[in-house]
Symmetry: C2
Subunit: 219 residues, 2 copies
DNA sequence: GAATTCATTGAATGAGTAATCGATGAATTC
DNA sequence: GAATTCATCGATTACTCATTCAATGAATTC
């Protein structure tokens, strides 16, 4: 008993684990910094101050500011994908349920926390940073879009909505989601998460009356 | 003939006219700079280089970088308001026509030119610049929102869409418009202006079948 | 337990940055 | 046409930023 797992495993908090933690800590600090000061106001000095470490350490772990930003986006994108993929498990559920699950994960509290919305739109909005965004995230967007499109194609086939183009519909719905996110970022007081989620669902219910019974855009 | 309009009017390009032109020139240069380099990459040096004037001149006309930014937003907001207000003239037209006119002006080529979209989202996305945005634009957004809401209230009264809340509907539609704008900015190749405008109109036609005959979200 | 690798520090470096201001000449006024 | 106001320039100033690097001590290896 005492001999087992002595050498092969490293100590509980091995160097590599500690390293991963530090990276995460710096990533979180960067998220907070961007949310508070904007992309242009985010400096290595401020990020490291928030994280409570020295400036040198950030460069040690990420080589450069750009790479730190890349890691931030990667982290947020991974988190997002992980959530909606986990919520799409359970193949016994109906297509309507699954679409509802996608909406729910898009408006999940962890995903669209204000500080994270701020990061997304910071990168959307900055011409210089847009490249970083596309490089780091790029196809995660497409992935979710395709999943939704497949689902809607299924729904159209099931209930036969006349003349509805699934891809067109997905693009319109996704645009609405983005717009609601922007509202939450700009006017957090007036646009609350749950209300926006419901708004999104009501629109979908209007588009797919045979799958959802909710009244169309009622208050 | 020769004596008229000698003194009372200043020479054709008076100092004040020239001044206004210079200001406009600097504003346009700033728009281009933000579109090309992002807010964080926009420096007074780059702006004035684009405009072809000295650094000192920009500060002479605008006092500071923040005030220059404020003027840029003010300029874009004025332009936007001027357009949709002019398109809402002609009180003989139906409510449906008027709503369509609002959509058309939102997706007017001059209004949602890429370089201008870039500016809007640059300010949306930057926590520091968001204050400048709210101060400069703020109620232009509300104004348009109220106009749309009034229109939709009218349409609901006319045709009696059961359980439709006008304000809810307006918020959802406006969100969709913002989202389509974001798409045009991020993926200009795939999301063209006219296609997004049509997408927006088709969604509206689906919501108001009694006012518009277009088939719901067809391709 | 000595040698080596690794994580961390913070001062130093050098490349920008916004904003200032005295100088210059053109337009305007009287 | 002299005096004055105005628009313009660009060198200068004082500051901020990302990144580097030698030094330090802890963890790991042998």
């Amino acid at each position: 008993m005492t001999e087992i797992s002595q050498k092969p495993e490293a100590p509980r908090t091995s160097r590599s684990e500690a390293k991963a933690e530090r990276r995460l800590q710096l990533i979180e600090a960067t998220v907070d910094c961007i949310a508070k000061f904007g992309l242009s106001g985010t400096t290595m000095a401020k990020v490291t101050e928030i994280a409570g470490v020295s400036v040198g350490l950030a460069n040690f772990h990420f080589d450069s500011k750009d790479r730190l930003f890349e890691a931030v986006l990667q982290h947020l994108a991974d988190e997002q994908r992980a959530l909606w993929q986990s919520r799409l498990q359970g193949r016994d559920r109906s297509s309507g349920d699954l679409l509802q699950a996608i909406v729910a994960s898009r408006f999940n509290p962890a995903i669209c926390a204000r500080r994270k919305l701020a990061v997304w739109f910071a990168f959307y909005g900055d011409a210089g940073a847009r490249d970083i965004y596309r490089r780091a995230v790029g196809d995660v967007d497409d992935e979710r879009l395709e999943a939704s499109a497949a689902l809607i194609t299924e729904m159209v086939a099931e209930a036969g909505y006349p003349d509805m183009d699934p891809v067109e519909t997905v693009l319109t719905i996704e645009a609405m989601w983005d717009g609601l996110w922007l509202n939450m970022l700009l006017y957090p007081g007036e646009f609350r998460r749950a209300a926006c989620r419901d708004r999104a669902m009501r629109m979908i219910a209007t588009l797919f009356p045979k799958h959802f019974s909710a009244s169309p855009l009622a208050g």
